[in-house]
């Protein structure tokens, strides 16, 4: 198999494994379908926005929990945002943590919330690095003169 073929195979396998392991769900595929010649960087742009937004939200959440009295309404608002954006890009595991986080918020359960925040940070960083790997693979395919396979 030539280089392009190998890279394309790697790309397909990697995307499949990300879906299988629950990192990405069907919504990510929907995003990829939206990309076209008029906007060939669409997915990267949206995901970059997600990274920026998420990092800000994680900082805001960390601050909220460092306060003497936790403002659960504020925390809930942040988690709601995070849930929305992770759902919109198909970051399933991140979204699932947000769902649990919301429940603990509503119950004003400090322990539960703290565990969720840790989990959220973990899952976010995981999906971030996986998406970055995926984008790198895409770049390599294109640099080798190939096209990114549609899934």
């Amino acid at each position: 198999m030539d280089l392009v073929g190998q890279l394309q195979r790697q790309f397909v396998d990697y995307t499949t494994s990300l879906t299988r392991e629950g990192f990405l769900d069907d919504q990510f595929k929907q995003l990829q379908k939206l990309q076209d010649e008029s906007n060939p960087e669409f997915v990267v742009e949206v995901v970059s926005l997600f990274f920026e937004d998420s990092e800000k939200l994680l900082n805001d959440l960390a601050s909220a929990f460092q306060q003497k009295i936790v403002d659960y309404k504020k925390v809930d608002a942040h988690v709601h945002q995070f849930k929305g954006s992770s759902s919109s890009i198909g970051a399933q595991r991140v979204k699932n943590v947000c769902v649990a986080f919301k429940t603990y918020c509503e119950a004003r359960n400090f322990e539960g919330c703290s565990i969720c925040l840790q989990s959220l940070e973990q899952e976010y960083h995981l999906v971030k690095s996986k998406l970055e790997t995926l984008f790198k693979l895409e770049q390599q395919i294109m640099a080798a003169g190939g096209s990114v396979p549609e899934l």
């Binding site: 929907q30 906007n39 608002a77 709601h80």
Partner: protein, 156 residues
């Protein structure tokens, strides 16, 4: 407000005369930047001209319905063919925005679509009763927007 108005090329086949020239002008309102970008792309892919607003107040201003615009008849807002708004927004919710639009003489005929990530029947009914054209569950798919486009064309 990031009023990013732009046209997409008309690539879809038109079944007869479209009442909005080639491209309906949609005002999309959402406080989440990722969702704004997504809905904008979905709409552009369906041959719509799109303006986005990050909250209800900015949306009202754009439509010429802001508090200090009582007598402003010649705004861009009069060219809007559809409003699509998120339900859960801080300050003014999508429902509040819907009410304001329906209460105005200038804009009450403009269809308003509400989007939400939560499937709550009482919420949906409340919006439909207030005159929402449609309620859509997030995250939106291209097929949802295509359906909406068809409904829009049938309306006139």
């Amino acid at each position: 407000m990031d009023a990013s108005s732009s046209s997409s090329s008309c690539s879809s086949s038109s079944k007869g005369m479209m009442d909005y020239g080639n491209e309906p002008h949609v005002l999309a309102v959402d406080d989440n930047i990722i969702d704004r970008k997504l809905v904008e792309k979905l709409l552009k892919n369906s041959s719509c001209k799109v303006t986005t607003a990050e909250n209800g107040l900015r949306a009202l201003e754009y439509l010429g319905l802001g508090d200090d615009q009582k007598n402003n008849l010649e705004t861009m807002g009069s060219k809007v063919n559809l409003i699509i708004t998120d339900y859960c927004m801080p300050g003014m919710t999508g429902y509040d925005l819907l009410k304001k639009v329906k209460e105005s003489n200038a804009m009450k005929e403009v269809p308003v679509v509400i989007m939400s990530s939560e499937n709550i029947p009482t919420r949906i009914n409340k919006c439909l009763e207030e005159g929402a054209q449609m309620f859509m569950l997030k995250p939106l798919k291209q097929s949802d927007v295509k359906k909406l486009r068809c409904q829009l064309m049938k309306r006139s």
